[in-house]
């Protein structure tokens, strides 16, 4: 009897104890609602990368990984609820894939000491790691994106944009307004005329905006859209016969979802990207063998290689590499969120490292530091081939204009620090 009681007590203690052996990577996903088409491939890519690590390598540094998915529906309140519901699980890093959720989480993660990675979205000035100790936005941010688009146009125009007319069509939200200041600064520097045209959420009806573009005949249109706004804008641009090769979307306006509904009319449309595309990488063979063929994929396996799947896959890879870095720095396999932050702040993504992972040239080479949480700020331009139904990368990595962007980052982050009584300093390791 005593033996049985002792066994039951041990079992009860074991059951009640938290599972310490997992490295927890929460995924604040949106597989339902108006933005599901963008949320699903990203969430699939994110989950599949960690499944691959578990199945092929036995996790990271001998510790299995665990992805906790929480559905946000791209709703800010639900995103915050998901954060609160999952942070107690030992979550190492959050990637909410929403600028709205990011803004709400920034004060929370700073208080809780849990890293937040907003890759190509969120608060741009979080690149200043001395103010935002726990927020990272490498490899590139919105302002880098605006600058990369202008640099591409400079390349196309022999380095001179003076007298050119550029319109920014943007989602009328904090996200959509992000590039305006940068584009205005760059307009002063390069002499182009900038017009900003707002589109209200969700962007299902854009007739007024595109009639304005038809009247004003800008030389180029840059788009900062998400969800249905992208598809409608591309269709409306085609309707007014705006030259597609002069229409450039940010990286959130450049997935297959955005161009396929417009059919042939979308041919030639361009967008930015912060990583490479397709499946021509050694790691995808492993993914097929260990995850897809084994029936362990997060989704139906039909999103592999799409732009947003690759983005989720890339985001997971960067998280896993930061976790490895944290394990190396602290000499412990079971890392805490604070250790994870140290790993992220010391992350160095070299070409050799990416090649070693089976992802050569998948993203830009960059290094993160205490001061710079924004990475290299590089991006590429891709162009849609409607007949082949695929994106083609048409440039090498383009550097953003740090001369213009860095002062803006410092100005904004220092204003944030002053408002919130933060003394800029590196986080304690």
């Amino acid at each position: 009897m005593k033996k049985r009681l002792a066994t039951m007590a041990v079992a009860a203690v074991m059951a009640a104890s938290p599972v310490l052996a997992d490295l927890v990577f929460p995924s604040l996903s949106y597989r339902t609602g108006p933005y599901a088409a963008g949320g699903i491939p990203f969430a699939d890519g994110y989950a599949d990368y960690f499944t691959l690590l578990n199945e092929r390598d036995g996790g990271i540094g001998g510790v299995m990984t665990r992805v906790i998915e929480c559905e946000t529906g791209y709703n800010t309140e639900k995103g915050v609820e998901c954060y609160e519901a999952t942070k107690g699980e030992g979550s190492l890093v959050y990637q909410p894939l929403s600028t709205g959720i990011t803004y709400q989480l920034i004060p929370k993660v700073e208080a809780d000491g849990i890293p937040l990675h907003t890759m190509g979205y969120g608060r741009t000035s979080a690149a200043n790691g001395k103010v935002f100790n726990n927020v990272f936005n490498y490899p590139a941010n919105y302002w880098d994106g605006a600058s990369i688009a202008i640099k591409h146009l400079l390349d196309e125009n022999g380095g001179d944009l003076s007298g050119k007319k550029i319109s920014l069509v943007y989602h009328n939200s904090a996200y959509g307004k992000e590039p305006i200041r940068t584009l205005e600064e760059l307009s002063s520097k390069h002499g182009y005329e900038l017009t900003t045209i707002a589109v209200d959420h969700p962007g299902q009806e854009q007739k007024s905006q595109w009639l304005q573009i038809r009247r004003e005949r800008p030389d180029y249109v840059i788009m900062w859209g998400w969800g249905v706004m992208n598809q409608v804008a591309i269709q409306e641009a085609a309707n007014i016969r705006f030259p597609m090769e002069n229409f450039i979307g940010v990286w959130w306006s450049g997935s297959e979802n955005d161009v396929i509904p417009a059919g042939e009319a979308a041919n030639g449309y361009k967008s930015l990207n912060m990583h490479n595309i397709g499946t021509d990488y050694p790691i995808y063979a492993d993914l097929q063998q260990y995850v897809i063929d084994a029936g362990k994929a997060a989704g139906a396996g039909d999103q592999v290689g799409t732009v947003l799947y690759n983005r989720g896959f890339y985001a997971a890879m960067l998280a896993a590499e930061a976790a490895k870095e944290a394990q190396r720095i602290h000499g412990e396999a079971e890392i805490t969120p604070a250790m994870m932050r140290d790993g992220m702040a010391a992350l160095e993504m070299t070409e050799e490292r990416m090649a070693g992972l089976g992802m050569p040239n998948f993203g830009p080479a960059f290094s993160v530091s205490c001061e710079n949480h924004g990475g290299s700020g590089q991006g590429k331009i891709q162009q849609w081939d409607a007949s082949a139904q695929q994106w083609n990368i048409i440039t090498d990595w383009i550097d953003s204009d740090k001369e213009v962007i860095q002062p803006l980052i410092m100005e904004d982050s220092e204003a944030f620090a002053a408002e919130n009584n933060i003394t800029p300093a590196c986080a304690d390791s």
Binding site: N172, Q204, L211, Q231, P261
Partner: protein, 331 residues
């Protein structure tokens, strides 16, 4: 004529066309409200569901494929055939009639004589249920909808109006899809009005709308009429889904087009079919003209809120809407 004036005319023309598209959504609300006093929150989702079903049938997609594959470990996605657009529209309509029957059989008939707010709440539940079923049945990815409707500027109109202005005026831009939508809406309204006025079922529908109990007392089947009305609303939802889906692809944000119908209903009245059209036209022209004239001065993106402001202004003077029935309660 000055270019600015011509641009204004172009904005008005496009506003009228946009208004027709809003009215297409509003019509579904009117039909159900007129016959049953229910504000159908699910109308936008019905448009989404109808469009999803249409594309699914056209592409030979296996319904509930993800669910089937997850349960049975199979790998089925498509039947391997493509169904012509017209046949797919008919099959979708059959499904919408079945949906109408199911709504009545499982929900509405159990709520007869309940407060309007209860019925409204039921349609909220219905909207979420239908959205979930649509996702499970056809998946969440964006689908291209091609039923052969023309899209893009009408060259003929552009070329034949370009002479009106200077070299900076390029002729009037009119989207061919909008022209088709206008014609379809006109036919739809005439057909619906004729149906309501000149057919036995239409008269029965109006009788139910006037007084449920009186209609029942003369032998009109409430169940039949409600199935009929929900079927008609399903058909209107399908038409709206096709027109809007052709613009943006079929995706879950399609359900948000209902937001565009609300100011139209406030303005045109909840009980008038012509009111939905006129309301749509006023909202369409009003919001586009405001955006054209005032928008640039205040940062643009005025259309969403201005439509509601316009509708509220009308409500102040005509609470029942332009064509709504005046509510007189004698005590």
């Amino acid at each position: 004529m000055t270019d600015q004036f011509l641009f204004g005319v172009e904005v008005v023309l496009n506003g009228l066309m946009a208004g027709v598209l809003y009215a297409l959504v509003a019509l579904g609300f009117v039909l159900i409200f007129k016959a049953s006093g229910i504000f159908n929150y699910a109308q936008g989702v019905m448009a989404l569901f109808a469009a999803l079903t249409l594309v699914g049938i056209m592409e030979g997609q296996v319904p509930f494929a993800h669910l089937i594959n997850a349960i049975f470990g199979t790998e089925i996605h498509h039947f391997g055939w493509h169904v012509p657009a017209l046949a797919a529209i008919l099959l979708t309509m059959v499904l919408m009639v079945f949906f109408a029957w199911a709504v009545n059989h499982f929900v509405m008939r159990h709520l007869v004589n309940q407060e309007p707010i209860i019925l409204f709440m039921a349609t909220i539940g219905l909207a979420y249920f239908l959205e979930g079923v649509g996702d499970l049945m056809w998946g969440s990815e964006i689908k291209k909808l091609d039923v052969g409707l023309p899209q893009g500027a009408s060259f003929w109109i552009e070329e034949n109006t370009a002479f009106l202005g200077s070299e900076n005026f390029f002729g009037f831009f009119i989207d061919q899809l909008d022209i088709v939508a206008t014609l379809v809406a006109a036919v739809l309204v005439v057909a619906l009005v004729a149906f309501a006025q000149y057919t036995k079922q239409g008269r029965a529908m109006r009788a139910v709308a006037d007084d449920h109990q009186a209609a029942l007392s003369v032998g009109i089947s409430l169940n039949f009429i409600w199935v009929l009305v929900w079927s008609l609303a399903g058909f209107v939802a399908l038409v709206a889904g096709i027109m809007w889906g052709a613009k943006s692809g079929v995706q879950f944000s399609l359900s948000l087009i209902a937001l565009k119908a609300l100011p139209v209903l406030m303005l045109g009245g909840f009980t008038s079919i012509p009111g939905a059209i006129v309301g749509g036209l006023i909202i369409g022209v009003g919001e586009k003209l405001f955006e054209f004239t005032i928008g640039p001065m205040i940062g643009g993106a005025t259309e969403n809120w201005f439509a509601y402001v316009l509708a509220l202004l009308f409500l102040v003077f005509r609470p029942q809407g332009l064509f709504g029935e005046k509510i007189i309660e004698r005590v």
